[in-house]
């Protein structure tokens, strides 16, 4: 049935210009031109740009999509927390520019907030591109790799803040070098 439908569409499209000139008002010409373009697009050769991963149906096709278990650390709370962290970065980032220097406590706060912001940002990227339902092991590896990296970078920033001049002061000195 599908092939019959398609050939009739093609025949319509092929005969469209004649019809358009003869009887259709101008406003419909663009619709017919679009149909020709759309038809050409749908009949182009298939290209495997992003071939799908192995497919598997969980349960039967008639099962409803599973509803994730509600968790206070995910979903809308997590989303709101993300936004609060992002919004709080605005004043913390502007103060050193305005004041010209920065208190070590503020610098440490800046580092900690940037670290949380980076961590949740990377989390969002992993959640978007490494879905559990298709690549469960890769997802776990990425999430735990990120957790480890964030912990190590947190330690590094602590070391840097306590043993050196601090993040803001370093950037300032490099900028003036």
């Amino acid at each position: 049935m599908a092939s019959i439908a398609r050939s009739s569409l093609l025949r319509q499209v092929a005969s469209a210009p004649k019809v358009a000139v003869a009887t259709k008002p101008a406003s419909q010409n663009s619709i017919i031109a679009n149909a020709a373009r759309a038809s050409a697009f749908h009949t182009t050769a298939r290209r495997d740009l992003l071939p799908p991963l192995p497919q598997k149906v969980v349960g039967t096709v008639n099962d409803a999509a599973p509803v994730p278990t509600p968790s206070p650390s995910h979903g809308s709370y997590h989303w709101t927390f993300d936004r609060l962290v992002a919004a709080s970065l605005i004043p913390i980032t502007v103060v050193p520019f305005a004041a010209g220097s920065v208190h070590p406590v503020l610098d440490a706060t800046l580092c900690a907030t940037i670290l949380i912001h980076s961590h949740t940002g990377f989390q969002n990227i992993i959640v978007d591109y490494v879905p559990t339902y298709r690549t469960p092991r890769a997802r776990k590896a990425f999430i735990w790799g990120l957790n480890a990296a964030t912990a190590v970078v947190g330690l590094a920033l602590y070391q840097y803040e306590t043993n050196d001049v601090g993040l803001t002061e370093t950037i300032k000195r490099i900028w003036k070098a």
């Binding site: 799908p52 936004r83 970078v153």
Partner: protein
Amino acid sequence: MGLAQSLSTTNSRRAETQKISAAEARSILDKQRLQRPVSPHLDIYDKQQTWFGGSIWQRFTGSGLSGGLYAFGLAYLAAPALGWHLESASLVAAFGALPVAAKVSLKFLAAWPFTFHALNGVRHLAMDLGYGFNRQTIVKSGWYIWGASLVGGLGLVFFL
């Protein structure tokens, strides 16, 4: 009435069915799913929305900045073991020894993602609160942020 019934155009025919096991049905379904069409390539969409959209560039610039911070943090902890010097004094000395062109490009490589991510982040938060969803506003504010972030990035490089 009898005539009308015999002239009925309703087409009735027997559907042909075949008994297969659940496992076979599943494997047919899995094979069919592999044949499903893949989303069209990014090339076919409007450039303003995909190539210069604030959304993906927010992610690019953010992961660039955070990736840099993570790379520095890991390198800083590994430095004593590898014999590297990543203390602020040696970083400043190393940067100061670079030619001007390298200084300017490195500064811009750090400054522009920062201005873009900051400005577009504010737009993102405004949109999260429900503002700026008029179609024209989305298009315009997108271009404004490109302009402002480039000007701001160059300003940070040359005037700070």
